[in-house]
Amino acid sequence: MADDHRDPAGIRELIMNRVTRAALVGGLTVGVVAVRRMLRQMPKSLQEPKDRWLVLTVNKRQDEIAPHNTWPQPLADLGDEVEIELRQAPGNRGTEIAVREREPGQTGPGGTTSRIAGRTRTQDIRSALRRTKQLLETGEVLAVDPQPHGRRKPTPGGALIAAATNRAGREGVL
């Protein structure tokens, strides 16, 4: 009965700590439930369907995209895990190359973690489409590094820009 020897202030503190902890746990639980419910009830217009095609138009005729039934290397490297479709773009705008995963990737927290780490199939597809377009239209994939530059001071803004540019070919609205 050790508590019997506590002074009234100590007992009040113990009770307050337990109440605070319980309130925090309760609040967190309610928050998680609320966020999950909100995500479930999000309007369709704000949800990304898992079978979305990523499409990019190349200024080439359809027969120039995969001569001899061979895909350009960046698309070929995606392997059998993706579907690829070619469509003629309207108004002599070339050929639309559409790619999507056969089995949609991980969603939820796991998917978010993979995306932050730059390891999703969608990111691979974006990059492959952009490189394919450049190869077909210009014959090369444009390099930008190394670029001449002066002393890079370590700043939060600079770190953010470096992180953004490292991913810039694999992200975006494509």
């Binding site: 138009t57 200024n59 705008r93 070339g94 952009r130 377009k133 450049q134 239209e137 210009t138 014959g139 090369e140 994939v141 444009l142 390099a143 930008v144 590094d145 190394p146 670029q147 001449p148 530059h149 002066g150 002393r151 890079r152 001071k153 700043t155 803004g157 600079g158 820009i161 470096a162 953004a164 540019t165 991913r167 810039a168 070919g169 694999r170 992200e171 975006g172 609205v173 494509l174």
Partner: protein
């Protein structure tokens, strides 16, 4: 090699940096002879376009001599005297093939940044932040030029280095505004801003047959250049009511085409300037659109307003009601230089276009920080600081 680098907000220094090298088969390396400041650089230097890293080499308007060519280059050889378009365009995508070179699909290797900002990515630009590709700029002894056959233009013998320099960006930007603004013979054209780009927009409007061209600014030395070298009329907005003047000189109709060549750091007399400045500094808007608002109000019913000044993202109190109810055509663009540079060089060669007067201050690259300060503060009548790279 020496290069003028951005080292932080409103901080520049000349540093020793690595020389560029050929990275792609279509690249050329240009030994820069002359490069110049541009008003749009001030947005980068001041941190209004927040995609610069300390150490980035500034500058996008330049001319020089081909020093090295990639194995796939066919148009140029070592020793060619060239002016290079500030925008980087592949020449082969649908946009390039339709003359919309600054919208090139392949010229910007960092598309995600501008796709997030604007929905789609335009092409890349030398020395214009990581949002526009992260390319090193031209205030340096050497520069790598991707897609060299498309971006570099041989300079006719009749055109000297200083005149040719402004065929890199200022002149083609002016031509973009007048051409895509559909200036036609008989039009009255008003141009906001008497800097290098505004002056070239006025020259282009006259070349396209405009009946009257009026350039608006507050700096008398610039307005004097407009009268003397371009042959357009002028208005000083600090000394007169611009809207009333434009109505009077257009018979009450308003200008047919209004070209805004000021951009996101516009000045104006009166409370609107303070309002816009406060909102911009508080980051409640990214740009000060004072001149755009005035152009929209001044433009005749059914006329065209062309936004040629550089804007980054969002503005407040945009007069959309005037655009809609007056039936205006509102258009903007970065410059499609590849489309206009050959004709501009021909005009220079035949003495029809004067540009050298823009170079009010020619300095060695070591004086780069001072050159930008003079250019920013408009001291000593500075219209453009030009850097002579070999000293």
């Amino acid at each position: 090699m020496k290069a003028l680098c951005w080292t932080g907000i409103n901080k520049l220094s000349v540093e020793d940096v690595d020389e560029p090298r050929l990275l792609n088969d279509h690249d050329i390396i240009v030994k820069v002879r002359l490069s110049t400041t541009c008003g749009s650089d001030l947005h980068l230097i001041g941190g209004y376009i927040p995609f610069m890293r300390s150490g980035d080499v500034l500058g996008h308007e330049f001319m020089g001599e081909v020093a090295e060519v990639g194995p796939a280059v066919t148009k140029h050889k070592v020793g060619d005297r060239v002016v290079v378009c500030s925008f980087i365009a592949c020449g082969n995508c649908w946009y390039c093939q339709n003359g919309l070179f600054s919208l090139c699909d392949n010229g910007n290797p960092n598309p995600a940044i501008t796709e997030a900002l604007w929905g789609f990515a335009p092409g890349g630009c030398f020395g214009y932040s990581h949002a526009m590709g992260g390319y090193a700029g031209c205030h340096a002894e050497y520069i790598r030029v991707p897609y060299g056959d498309h971006g570099a233009f041989s300079i006719p013998d009749e055109v000297d280095d200083l005149a040719a320099l402004f065929a890199s960006d200022s002149a083609p930007t002016g031509w973009t505004g007048a051409d895509l603004g559909n200036v036609a013979p008989g039009d009255v054209v008003a141009v906001w801003g008497a800097g290098g780009v505004g002056q070239m927009a006025a020259a282009a409007a006259l070349a396209k047959g405009a009946d009257r061209v009026v350039v608006i600014d507050r700096l008398e030395n610039r307005l004097h250049q407009v009268s003397e070298h371009i042959g357009a009329e002028t208005l000083n907005y600090e000394q007169t009511n611009v809207a009333a003047e434009l109505r009077e000189l257009t018979g009450g109709r308003g200008p047919d085409v209004c070209i805004e060549a000021v951009g996101m750091e516009a000045h104006s007399p009166g409370p609107a300037y303070l309002y816009d400045q406060a909102k911009q500094q508080l980051r409640l808007q990214t740009d000060r659109p004072t001149a755009v608002r005035e152009a929209i109000h001044a433009c005749r019913k059914g006329g065209t307003v062309f936004v040629l000044g550089v804007f980054a993202a969002f503005v407040d109190k945009f007069p959309l009601g005037a655009v809609m109810n007056k039936g205006l055509t509102l258009r903007g663009a970065q410059m499609h230089g590849h489309r206009y540079i050959p004709a501009i060089l021909d005009r220079m060669a035949s003495g029809q276009l004067s540009t050298s007067h823009l170079a009010t201050h020619v300095l060695p690259l070591d004086d780069g920080p001072r050159g930008y300060q003079m250019f920013k503060d408009k001291t000593d009548g500075c219209v453009r600081s030009v850097f002579r790279i070999d000293g």
